[in-house]
């Protein structure tokens, strides 16, 4: 968004005169309330500074607590103090100007030499426009010019203008200045010094000539209104003042004592001590974390939160209050799954539905409905009524009739959330647009918000205690926008590559297989149960013997005119005229990135796709329920052949590894480009040993068949991988840390069990045992090393790539595809002439390519 462009923002310093002009009163008494609990005049909660107690009137504007914005006061210092945040600027000025004449410590020729570097200033001077000139001068010196200047100044021992020797100035943090080594320059002297500097010399130093440097030495301090530092009344009736008020009391107290001592003619040492104390109080008032300054503490030893602390950091005004705002009409609770919901719905606990509201805009045409709604005294009822004037009134028994009589078009009734309302549902981290989608409300008993499992994937949610947030769009526009752009059913396909991101998983896939495999038949009763479960009260044509084929049952949820073919290894699926003719349904079709889902979406649209997805899942689960699946230890028990193969594989790779080593020893091993021979040996050894797993999976795949349920689950892509099977029943294989075989631990060996320099594969993390057999302690330890490394790497990579992703999103967030399919940013600048180079939306790619 770019509504108005800001040309310049200028921050300046405030002069003592301005402080006094802004102030409504000079504060004299370093205290807050008197014994009667009444604000002291001239104290820190003086009623002219504004009022926060209800019932009191502001003595400046006459406003009450709600209407008075608060007014500034001021404190006048008896002795000036340095503004701690500007000590550096003061330091620069003292270093570069003459104590006597106030000129910059550069001769006229040197200034002339500098001119090219400070061209901005010169050109600004030539410009007649005064505003423009200050603006340019503010751009200040380039870093190079500043460096040059400081180098010159260092060499200068005396003022080139009046010849006064210039001492080396020392700044001792935070605010102590010395001339030479030991002579302290006090703030009042600094102030006199700074006031001698001319405006043109200031511009040479990159400062604004309109702002006097002596203002950096405070003679008056602006006191914020009480609204900024409200006191709180404890239950005991005791008042507790804000940290800022405490700090200001301290400042005033010291200031007062300093005044008294000066008047009484106290010795200089005492006065200087008090003066330093005043400087300390002011320093901590601005920033209680100033380096080199002891932290000012509360009576309870808690560090005081002063001005800088209010703004700084994660909990500061900027990041906590301005960037992070809290929002109304929202809810958050634990989520759980509900297979009865559609992916488009979200189950809302009754308690939440009763508290969230949706505006009902009363018009001439719905006023009767509005009145009926207003009359209701239980659940779907009106909570608040907002009159034409914008007055929000809580609806209660006492005023219901009154409101009913007053209601007219233009009112807004805030009614409770009901079934069918549209809400935004969100799970953090909100990484992509699918992390926040618009669901239809379904009010349910219980305390959790419920969603369909198929929509858990785009949210990256599971139900082990995850919580999610809910927002109720209030305006009609927001509701419409949510409906049109954010409903899960319309977002089934990924905007990245057009593959399904809402699909069936695990049991559902297994069930689909058992339902649709070639020999699957079901009795009439079974068929009825399954189909009735998804609201289909019709049966497919029975095959001989009065039984129904699984394929025909599944076909009941397919559109009648669907023709579809898919050929993936070993499973050719043919659907003709909405009838599954050949093959079985597996994850390739209805799992992640499922091609059948994709096809349904492009050919039949969101509603049919959603229905199909839900029906397929439910039907499959019913089928699985009838079948039952058990994975037993039998599935992982190897035949003698497999065990023999395993030994063969292990000895084969070991032999190849040792062969590599002897080649290396004989200097026959050639180094790969860019690597040493030693590195080459290590890489090739790792590759060789790593192959053991691949060989083992080949063996397993040869031996196993569909009677092995674990393998069957792998085949239909319901769960698990061949690698899992290999590691459970054959061998774990090579363990790696940082992409290398295990090498570190003890000197020359991983564990003291091995001899130093042991070349055997198992000494460097090759594990020939399987989970089934069990691991030796040595193997266990090595496995843990690999596991820890991959765990650490994973968590590190997610953190780093997450942040990179975030920065990329922030950089690209206001790019949009224009009507001519070009990509532009918010300022209208062209980014890409044609979106993606081809103008195709991946989500709709199928549609475009097939011309459907």
């Amino acid at each position: 968004m770019q509504a108005e462009s800001i040309d310049t923002i200028k921050f300046t310093i405030v002069s003592p005169e301005l402080v006094k002009k802004m102030s409504v009163t000079k504060l004299m008494v370093p205290d807050t309330y008197n014994e009667d609990g009444y604000p002291i005049d001239g104290g820190l909660v003086d009623q002219r500074l504004g009022v926060i107690d209800p019932g009191l009137k502001c003595k400046t504007c006459g406003g009450r607590a709600k209407t008075c914005p608060g007014h500034f006061g001021h404190i006048e210092f008896v002795r000036p103090v340095i503004h701690p945040e500007f000590a550096k600027t003061v330091y620069l000025l003292l270093q570069s100007t003459c104590n006597q004449c106030g000129r910059i410590l550069l001769s006229e020729e040197q200034i002339g030499e500098l001119r090219p570097a400070i061209k901005t200033y010169v050109s600004a001077e030539e410009e007649e426009d005064a505003a423009r000139s200050t603006e340019l001068a503010l751009q200040g010196l380039s870093d190079a010019a500043k460096e040059l200047l400081l180098k010159r100044l260092k060499a200068t021992k005396e003022c080139p203008h009046c010849g006064t020797p210039h001492p080396k100035i020392k700044l001792e943090r935070p605010t102590y200045f010395y001339a030479g080594e030991n002579l302290r320059i006090k703030p009042d002297e600094i102030r006199d010094w700074l006031s001698k500097i001319s405006g043109s010399d200031l511009t040479l130093l990159g400062l604004d000539a309109a702002l006097r440097p002596e203002w950096l030495i405070l003679t008056a301090l602006l006191v914020p209104p009480v609204n900024v530092r409200p006191s709180i009344t404890l239950e005991s009736g005791e008042r507790s003042e804000d940290d800022l008020t405490h700090k200001l009391v301290d400042i005033m107290r010291i200031n007062q004592r300093l005044e008294q001592d000066i008047d009484a003619g106290a010795p200089q040492i005492i006065i200087d001590d008090l003066w330093e104390l005043l400087q300390y109080q002011v320093t901590t008032y601005f920033n209680n974390e100033t380096p080199g300054v002891p932290v000012a503490r509360h009576r309870s030893t808690r560090p005081l939160k002063t001005l800088a602390q209010r703004l700084k950091g994660k909990e500061g005004r900027l990041r906590y209050n301005l960037s992070g705002k809290r929002v109304n009409f929202s809810a958050r609770t634990v989520i759980s799954s509900d297979a009865s919901l559609t992916i488009n719905e979200v189950g809302i606990p009754r308690r939440i539905a009763e508290n969230l509201t949706v505006p009902f805009y009363v018009t001439l045409w719905n006023i009767e409905a509005a009145k009926a709604l207003l009359l209701k005294a239980e659940y779907p009822m009106v909570i608040n009524a907002i009159t034409k004037e914008g007055l929000r009134k809580r609806v209660a028994e006492a005023n219901r009739q009154e409101l009913l009589a007053a209601i007219q078009p233009g009112w807004v009734l805030e009614r409770q959330l009901v079934d069918g309302d549209i809400v935004l549902f969100n799970r953090q981290p909100t990484l992509h647009r699918l992390s926040m989608m618009a669901h239809t409300v379904k009010v349910l008993p219980g305390k959790t918000m419920r969603l369909h499992v198929s929509v858990a994937f785009p949210y990256n949610a599971d139900f082990d205690g995850d919580e999610m947030n809910l927002h109720v769009p209030q305006s009609i526009e927001a509701q419409a926008e949510s409906r049109y752009l954010m409903q899960p059913k319309d977002l089934v396909l990924s905007a990245r590559d057009g593959r399904a991101v809402m699909f069936t998983e695990e049991d559902e896939i297994a069930g689909a297989y058992f339902l649709t495999k070639d020999d699957a038949t079901f009795s009439k009763e079974e068929a009825c149960t399954m189909l009735a479960g998804i609201g289909v009260y019709d049966l497919p044509r029975a095959v001989k013997g009065g039984v129904f084929s699984g394929k025909s049952i599944f076909s009941m949820i397919l559109p009648d005119d669907l023709d579809y073919e898919e050929d993936s290894k070993g499973n050719k699926v043919v659907i003709k005229g909405g009838e599954l003719k050949e093959g079985y349904i597996d994850a390739k079709l209805i799992g992640i990135g499922g091609t059948l889902i994709q096809r349904m979406f492009s050919s039949y649209g969101s509603d049919v796709t959603m229905r199909f997805l839900l029906n397929a899942a439910k039907l499959s689960l019913r089928a699985l329920l009838m079948q039952g699946v058990t994975i037993s230890i039998k599935d992982y028990y190897n035949s003698d052949f497999v065990n023999g193969e395993k030994l063969r594989i292990v000895s084969e790779v070991s032999a190849r590894a040792s062969e590599l080593y002897s080649k290396y020893k004989k200097a026959e091993l050639e180094a790969l480009p860019g690597y040493s021979r030693k590195e080459t040996l290590e890489m090739e050894t790792l590759a060789t040993l790593d192959e053991a797993r691949a060989l083992a999976s080949k063996t397993l795949e040869k031996v196993l068949d569909r009677t092995n349920i674990a393998y069957l689950m792998v085949l239909v892509r319901a769960r698990g991988s061949v690698l899992n099977l290999v590691q459970t029943s054959m061998l774990l294989g090579q363990q790696a840390v940082r992409g290398k075989r295990l090498s570190r631990g003890y000197s020359g060996r991983v564990l003291p069990y091995f001899r130093k320099g042991d070349k055997a594969p198992n000494a460097k993390g090759f594990i020939a045992s399987s989970f089934f057999e069990g691991l030796t302690p040595i193997e266990f330890y090595m496995h843990a090393m690999g596991a820890r490394d991959s765990g650490m790497t994973k968590s590190l990579v997610t953190a780093v790539s997450g942040y990179l992703q975030r920065r990329l999103i922030n950089a690209l967030q206001d790019l949009y595809v224009d009507r001519d399919l070009s990509v532009k940013d918010a300022s209208g600048a062209l980014i890409e002439t044609l979106y993606g180079g081809d103008g195709i939306d991946p989500m709709m790619e199928q549609v475009v390519r097939s011309g459907a």
């Binding site: 001519d820 070009s822 300022s827 209208g828 600048a829 062209l830 890409e832 002439t833 180079g837 081809d838």
Partner: protein, 73 residues
């Protein structure tokens, strides 16, 4: 692996009338186009001067398309 070289896509200097046409097509002023420096080797090669528009004929896996750059100093 032997290195593979790909020539820089062809840069073409647009005439004033073509420039106006392109700007009108995208409905934006010239300074809203992506920029190319006058000193860029390709800009030098075709003698592009600040204020002119360069068409770049690209070809990548998505197909052939034309990109535009506004020449700046």
């Amino acid at each position: 692996m032997p290195p593979s070289y790909e020539p820089i896509p062809v840069h073409e200097l647009l005439s004033e009338s073509e420039t106006a046409k392109v700007a009108k097509k995208f409905g934006i002023s010239l300074d809203k186009f992506p920029k190319i420096n006058e000193g860029d080797p390709q800009a030098k090669k075709i003698g592009a001067k600040a204020g002119q528009l360069v068409a770049i004929h690209r070809e990548d896996p998505t197909g052939k398309y034309t990109y535009y750059r506004y020449v700046v100093r």
